[in-house]
């Protein structure tokens, strides 16, 4: 378990019941509680029932609920996804787990052609209450095929809902919401968030779709950050603080539906918008947020175009070697730099701290 020493959990406890637990444990707790609450819920997918338990997020559930509600599968993503859709149509509530988001490309036909469309095509006669838990890899040479963040592909599709929680509190609340939702939900987890801690209530609670969360209210710029990039944006805001600048850090949490109201209100206050996606830019979440800004504030602010910019993965496959991989991702430094430029119009970087303390990015080591 790793906690960057100088960093604090993003939530402070609101009552003394809350515990500081890891994201991975929050996921497991949510699953366990909902499976106990609702016997229609079952959990399956490659490796959910082995001794590593999807990096710990499913450990103990086999013992708690038995092999009929917690089971592994053959390597057959396409059929297993269809299987989940069918079970969901019949009234069960499957949670299907992919240990890498990249494998969802084998499941996408069922998700887009069947899961997303059945309720509509059959005019409401069936529901598909299905949760797809899917993990984004990063670091340690995972490379081009083991670290893709493909939420944009799913955001494009009416009929799907998407969560991408950035912290333990939301991981638990969103997962419970997803399990209770009557639609197919793509639930995106970032591997590097698994070991990060947050204050989480032991109670059952939900975090809603379509409601973004603002961290560290600020004045000078709005930074919308997705998934793991929330952590980098929070670090960037600390850099900015040192030179007296403050940022509204907004985590959309739910990518479809997307809460633009929170973003627009923030931009009305700060006057600037930087979007930091944890994914590629082209036809990505960042494009969509920009496009909606134009639709919602077509005349800009005070008669002027709103300064907006976006960052995300380099427009390349992800290389494995560390020095290139570091350049592939936005970092707290590049984010702070970009924000500074948007605010000041200047490009100097001498104010940036030379090195940052060790983060979960450096702490992550193999085998995987």
């Amino acid at each position: 378990m790793f906690m960057p020493t100088e960093e604090k959990p993003v939530f402070t406890p609101c009552d003394n019941k809350q515990r500081l637990i890891r994201y991975v444990d929050a996921l497991r707790e949510a699953t366990s509680q909902e499976m106990a609450n609702d016997e229609r819920v079952f959990l399956f997918g490659l490796d959910v029932d082995d001794h590593k338990g999807i990096q710990g997020s499913t450990l103990g559930l086999l013992e708690q609920f038995g092999p009929e509600r917690v089971f592994g599968t053959p390597l057959s993503e396409d059929a297993m996804t269809g299987f989940a859709v069918g079970a969901a149509m019949a009234g069960l509530r499957p949670i299907h787990v992919h240990i890498r988001m990249d494998f969802m490309l084998l499941a996408i036909n069922q998700l887009i052609n069947m899961a997303a469309k059945s309720h509509y095509m059959y005019n409401g006669q069936v529901n598909v209450p299905l949760v797809i838990r899917t993990m984004i890899g990063r670091s340690w040479g995972q490379g081009a095929q083991h670290s893709q963040a493909l939420h944009a592909l799913f955001m494009h599709i009416p009929g799907l809902k998407i969560f991408a929680p950035s912290n333990a509190h939301d991981a638990k609340g969103c997962l419970i919401t997803a399990i209770r939702d009557n639609n197919p939900v793509i639930f995106i987890e970032h591997r590097l968030l698994y070991s990060t801690e947050g204050y989480v209530s032991p109670e059952v609670y939900t975090v809603p779709f379509g409601k973004a969360r603002t961290f560290v209210p600020g004045h000078d710029i709005t930074i919308v950050a997705i998934s793991h990039m929330v952590m980098e944006a929070l670090r960037a805001s600390k850099h900015l603080e040192k030179i007296g600048l403050s940022a509204d850090i907004i985590d959309p949490i739910s990518l479809r539906p997307l809460d633009m109201e929170t973003i627009v209100n923030s931009v009305k206050k700060t006057g600037r918008l930087l979007i930091v996606d944890n994914g590629w830019l082209t036809c990505g979440a960042s494009s969509e947020i920009m496009a909606r800004m134009i639709e919602l504030l077509p005349e800009g602010l005070n008669g002027k175009a709103i300064p907006m910019a976006r960052m995300g993965f380099a427009d390349t496959p992800c290389p494995t070697t560390k020095n290139l991989e570091n350049l592939f991702y936005p970092s707290s430094h590049t984010i702070a730099e970009k924000a500074y430029t948007l605010i000041s119009g200047k490009t100097n970087t001498d104010w940036l701290p030379a090195a940052t303390s060790k983060t979960e990015i450096d702490a992550f080591k193999g085998p995987f």
Binding site: E68, T73, P74, S76, D78, A79, M80, T81, G82, F83, A84, V85, G86, A87, A88, M89, A90, G91, L92, P94, N109, Q110, N113, M114, S118, H119, Y120, M121, Y122, N123, G124, Q125, V126, N127, V128, P129, P158, G159, K161, N182, N183
Partner: protein
Amino acid sequence: MTQDQALIARLYQSMLLIRELEQHIVDVYHTDAVKSPVHLSIGQESVAVGVCDPLNSDDIVSNTYRCHATYLAKGGDINGMMAELYGKKHGCAGGKAGSMHLVDIKHGILGASAVVGTTIPIAAGYAFALQQEAKKTGKQRIVASLFGDGATEEGVFTETINFAMLKKLPIIFICENNQLAIHSPLRSRWASEHICERVASFGIRTHQVKNADIFELHQLISKEAENIRNGISGPVFIECETYRWLEHVGPGDDHHEEYRDPNELALWKNKDQIARLANMLAPHEKEKINQKVAALIKNAVAFAEQSPYPDEEELFTHVYAN
């Protein structure tokens, strides 16, 4: 094998309803009343009826785009079907689904997909839910999953077969082998013609029904459904030889095209199961059924014609479930 007359009458009516309804589509297609691609089952009726008749009304049938036959054979609402074909508000899916996605959940018709093979794993998932249900209710419902010979080429078919056997699911897989995928013959698609052998290599019980024989298929399904309900576990795989009389999609006959052998049509018309049963019925019995079928279709057409088109707001309903 002596067949009791009531059964013959029932099977005849069920098959005839399919044929006559599809014949109606053929007749009106040029008027553009049905603005939808139609994949007709004329000539293949015995498969749908042989499979669905032995099932209980709360059993489930799952299909592909060539789904008119199973919809009717499983007892789907004929008015809703006709209105759906006509793109009307009172269609079984409010006009949103069309010919390729007929659905009637109340009657255990799980819908159908235009993407070949995609309903096979869904049927297995449904069967899993029924397996779990049976542990509580003590009553084992069954899923029948129908698909074409072409569908067995998709990877998802083998994946599903393997998993269904691993989990001993209460499902009967039925391959409607009409030897064609659109216009491609089996030999250009299958390295080996023995699909039963292939499926049996997973340890599954398999059967082949030749000549689209309605009695043989009916009995097989009755027996295997019984087996599954009694805990002699599934899955089961059945290959049914059959033949598509009309073109792949649309109302026409295309036996003038090179991919077809006109002799084959004659051969299969000789084996026509509807004609076979008609000959087994007393003339007045047959006539009664013929009239009943005609009336059902006439009513359905009137129903469809009178139904309005869906309201414009319907475009936006049911994208998400509440």
